[in-house]
């Protein structure tokens, strides 16, 4: 599967000039900085710097842009951990355990764990990419609506575990999110729930809504608190603890590898990507962990699951882009634009004829991941000082940055308005103990769920018999369904066994 002649070609491409390397660290720093600004997406960071690559050769340009891509993917987890703001949709699951960790004074460990899991995940995903680029790309286009519907349902299972104490409230909050996700044009061309507001035609602006629900509502609730971390002694920034957190991530190899596999597979599907993969990985890890009940209260495994999956989605998206010439999302669309500026077209003929360039990109990404470990460590160390800022300064500053960010991402007042509406909504939901995270998951998955189901109905010609017959022609979809059921069954059995053992232990003690 690996063509050694091309590997050699790649090595000589990378070692022949220093130009390929000097842009690496600047790219990483740019990515970290922009990625950690709430509202500045990975795509925006790359789009801003795309014109600069006009003055570079092809390979340095791609390395520079993928360095921004890699670092911005991790950068999003910094505000997620420290302020409960998922700067991008791919860091939603990072907030579930990262933020509780930070609030209980384990911000050093949380950031270190997130960094190591990201780096580890990126490495695994590019390793998979190196071996699997051709087969993965063949599978991706074959995924039909039924397959995608089951993937969305798999993600929806997460709502059950986000529900907290009241399952009913959790389901209600999740359903509300799904309904919000269906606002705007459906894929069948119908307009729903826009109340005549043209800004809602493309749906509720997701990132401002998410920032409002998760972050602003949380910050409003903190108004009577003086510091993010109540205990003064815990507010320290400790290099040793960050490294300790990193070690934690390397100890949970299995979670990282599972996260990376989910990330690569989901990331490779055009239009889905890291915003879904981090949720899936989190849900799977939580369901299968012996200490699953402590997820959501600051369990580092949750951070590892989320971060390994969202960073490894990059590898999957790159596979689709390189092998098929199809951009899976905004970031790979920018990369394709950079390809076009050098008169190179991604696709089957590209990987057939220029595999040495593909390998060079993969090797450069290995180097990026390792360098990110060092650059990111410094960045995280500085970012950690946020916990020392009194909340009376921090809350207004964060709200202002979030407002600007939401304007930047929408390009109109629709962004800030959405942010405010959802902040109030999020605060009210928290006040009455509805899990806002379930609404966010519903919002992220609602559109996918509905559009794919609508297509299944269309292919099945609106009859149960037709849908059933169609399902029989899609073994891939049935396999996904089978895997999902198996995963639920296995975790249920494991839980039951643990419960029995717990009872037995109690009996013996008595």
């Amino acid at each position: 599967m690996i063509d050694f002649e091309n590997v050699q070609g790649a090595v000589s491409l990378l070692t022949s000039s220093a130009q390929a390397w000097i842009w690496l660290v600047p790219g990483l720093i740019i990515g970290l900085f922009f990625g950690s600004m709430p509202g500045i997406s990975i795509t925006m960071a790359m789009a801003i710097f795309l014109p600069m690559t006009l003055y570079m050769d092809f390979l340095p340009a791609i390395i520079f842009l993928t360095a921004i891509y890699t670092a911005a993917g991790f950068g999003g987890s910094v505000p997620a951990v420290l302020m409960n703001i998922p700067g991008t949709t791919s860091a939603v699951a990072t907030t579930f355990d990262g933020y509780p960790m930070a609030r209980s004074g384990r911000h050093n460990e949380a950031l270190g764990t997130a960094l190591a899991a990201s780096v580890f995940g990126t490495l695994v995903s590019y390793l998979l990419l190196m071996f699997l680029i051709a087969p993965v790309s063949r599978v991706v286009l074959r995924l039909g609506p039924l397959e995608m519907f089951f993937v969305a349902v798999w993600g929806m299972l997460l709502i059950g575990s986000l529900a907290g104490r009241s399952m009913l409230r959790g389901l209600l909050a999740g359903t509300f999110g799904v309904l919000l996700g269906t606002v705007g044009f459906s894929s069948a061309g119908h307009i729903r729930g826009t109340m005549g507001v043209p800004w809602l035609f493309d749906g509720v602006p997701v990132i401002p809504a998410m920032m409002g629900l998760l972050a602003a509502s949380q910050l409003i609730g903190l108004i009577n608190t003086r510091y993010l971390i109540e205990d003064e002694a815990s507010r320290k920034i400790s290099f040793r603890k960050i490294v300790g957190g990193m070690r934690d991530a390397f100890r949970q190899r299995f979670i990282v590898v599972r996260g990376a596999i989910i990330g690569v597979l989901v990331g490779a599907i055009p239009g889905v990507g890291s915003s879904i993969s981090n949720l899936l990985s989190y849900a799977e890890t939580k369901r299968n962990a012996p200490d699953g009940d402590t997820f959501g209260t600051g369990n580092p495994k949750g951070v590892i699951a989320a971060e390994s999956a969202n960073s490894s989605s990059e590898g999957g998206a790159m596979a689709t882009m390189l092998a098929l010439g199809i951009p899976g999302g905004g970031a790979t669309a920018i990369l394709l634009a950079a390809f076009a500026m050098n008169n190179i077209v991604g696709g089957p003929s590209f990987i057939a004829n220029q595999m040495d360039i593909v390998y060079a990109i993969i090797f450069a990404n290995f180097a990026q991941a390792l360098l990110l470990l060092i650059v990111g460590l410094g960045f995280v160390y500085i970012a950690g000082y946020v916990v020392r800022v009194p909340l009376r300064f921090l809350i207004p500053s964060v709200l202002v940055v979030a407002t600007f960010g939401s304007y930047a991402i929408e390009g109109s007042a629709a962004g800030p308005i959405t942010l405010v509406v959802f902040s109030v909504l999020g605060w009210a939901m928290m006040r009455y103990q509805y899990p806002v995270a379930a609404t966010v998951v519903g919002l992220l998955l609602g559109r996918l769920l509905e559009n794919e189901l609508a297509r299944v109905f269309q292919i099945g010609r609106q009859s149960i018999e037709g849908i059933f017959n169609y399902a029989l022609t899609r073994p891939g979809a049935l396999a996904i369904l089978g895997l999902m059921l198996l995963s639920i069954l296995v975790s249920a059995i494991a839980k039951e066994r643990r419960r029995r053992r717990g009872i037995k232990l109690l009996d013996e003690q008595v």
Binding site: A47, L141, F185, P198, P270, S412, N451, Q458, I459, R461
Partner: protein
Amino acid sequence: MTDNFTRRDMLRMVSVGAAAATVASPAILRAQSGFPDRPINVVVPFNTGGYNDRLARASAPFVQEALGQPLNIINRGGAGALLGHTFFQQQPDDGYTICVSSFGPYIPLNILTQDAPFTVEDWHMINLPSQDYTLMATSADSGISSIDDFLERVRADPGSVSIGIQPASADLVNLTILMEHEGIDTDALTIVTYDGGGPARNAVAGDVVDVALVGGQGFIPLADQIRPLLVFGDETRDGWEAALIGDVMGDAAQFVSGSQRGWGVHSSFVENHPDRYQILLDAIETASKSDAMIESLEDQALATTWYGPEASNRQLRQTAALMEEYIDLLTGD
């Protein structure tokens, strides 16, 4: 001091002063009568990276050279160009704001399906160099070998062939015209809707749907993975080895073109400022016909063909009229 002057005196002094300054300084004089004397905004009602955005940005250096003022590209994406088109119509019609968009089919669609606050008559086309077309294609692995094979299969077993398409699109109008001509009831088609050309193309390339009808230019990167069946155009395009709509429907073949992209302005601008309009028209024409711009845009797979205002306006209004005929289809009633 000021008590000694009436308002009228003040006004007189100011106007005399202004007149004197104008006479004294030829630079200001030229600026006042010479259009354009400040940068021109180009509204693109799509996000960065799409065809219109690339067209505007790639043409900008050449047009601004001919015009003598920089062009400033503003992206206003969303709601099928409705937000951007509405924003454009709200700007002053003084020639300092122009628009680069897929006017056909989006202006008729905005009007017919989205209750847009403008009519086709509010728009004047300067030039529409890029004319996309509907391509019907199947997966390279599928058993469907030709357009005749497709029609035969639909007749033999209604519902057996699934068709990926965007709702409320020129492609849907074209499919319906073809089916009407062939006397096939549209109920015999299994329509699968996609909310974008890209997803529909991916679906047919992966054999998820049997055929798809989408804008043909976007299929070029997927050429290895599809088999073209039918080009909705008068002549073959982009080297597709497929039947033409005229081969199936005869000389009287009717069809809507796909995206008609290019440069447009307010109609009221043309009426109120004919002199400025002429300057703008000349600049875009000169640039579009210059070897430098043609070469540069060809490298980026962008069109520069000069059709001129007359032909471009006729094309847009034709599309609008044909789409209005099929309004029920587009609104899904």
